[in-house]
Symmetry: C2
Subunit: 195 residues, 2 copies
């Protein structure tokens, strides 16, 4: 799909922004253990450096309420940006932020705003989490790329990659890289229905 935008008397054709779910997983498909426990995930090394560098490519991040509030454990104050160079869209029907940063926006969990962001201009969109929000997007065929930081761990229980979604998908493997501490970053394009 393409969007045509008129700008300064020229017409530019650019592809719709992709939603990229870039997330750490265990081998058994969990993005965290019970109660958000991520203590056994790889926390340092060349793979994390690569991930941090990749994040610089995104000017926009979308996430659910739990993921945003998860940042509070690491010093984030309500209303602040989690990623300084990104515009934040937090999708929640409950979250209320007083005097948020001008680049932090809260919207109800509805497709309209997601589609507006996706159809707008800018870089690809970083989907930060969590599992339930990603599953909801997936159920609506709105996730384009899956980048898993595959950790050399098994968790056995916790929050699943796509929450409670039961959607079945085929993907195209685009890239797989190995890093320190047994971490791999594997990139897939999600094949949309009918393609």
């Amino acid at each position: 799909m393409e969007v045509i935008e008129s700008h300064k008397n020229t017409t530019t054709i650019f592809p719709m922004r992709k939603i990229v779910y870039y997330v750490a997983t265990s081998i058994d498909g969990f993005i965290s253990g019970p109660n958000g426990d991520i203590s056994t995930f790889v926390g340092e090394g060349s793979g994390l450096t690569k991930y941090q560098a990749d994040l610089k490519e995104y000017d926009t991040v979308i996430m659910g309420k739990n993921t945003y509030e998860f940042g509070y454990q690491f010093g984030l104050k309500p209303g602040q940006r989690a990623y300084q160079h990104m515009t934040h869209y937090i999708f929640s029907n409950q979250l209320m932020l007083e005097n948020p940063d001008p680049k932090v926006h809260v919207y109800p969990v509805e497709l309209e705003k997601i589609l507006e962001i996706k159809n707008g201009s800018g870089t690809d969109i970083y989907l930060c989490g969590g599992g339930e929000f990603a599953g909801w997007l997936l159920d609506n065929d709105l996730v384009d790329v899956l980048k898993v930081k595959l950790n050399p761990i098994v968790l056995g229980e916790g929050t699943r990659l796509f929450g409670h979604s039961q959607k079945r998908l085929k993907l195209e493997l685009l890239d797989s890289e190995q890093f320190e501490n047994g971490l791999q970053i594997i990139t897939y394009s999600i094949i949309k229905p009918g393609k």
Copy 2:
């Protein structure tokens, strides 16, 4: 751990046989969809050729009842070997086989026989599945190596890699290879408690 065996007046020291869980998984950690559906797993190409070649290295296979009976869908007759060159040990408290092949044995799901096989002589042991049997072995610290055929699919539901086990593990990444059709074969050594 090592085992010392006296044989023809010489003493040979050899390492205990490893149990190698070599299994196809989805990105979200399932080894099959609902009702054993494996229709979206990669069914051909260089990765499967590699897997078939690797199986030649094992003289012994262990599995649960469901995994053995799963072969019936593909023409296996009750009592036959699923892998011609391997001795089969099927662990089940229910399965009854009439006049099985001399290389097909059924034992109750108890540790004693597993340990006897593991402490015996022979190649490493191919753990064929299924998830619940693998989870039971894992809970007893008896799985040594995990080789996942990581398929470019998401299943959303089905049989989990280690069934209902909730054991947490750290693993060491030993090898990761890419093959046709987006399949990867990733080999991990399971780090045992206290190591």
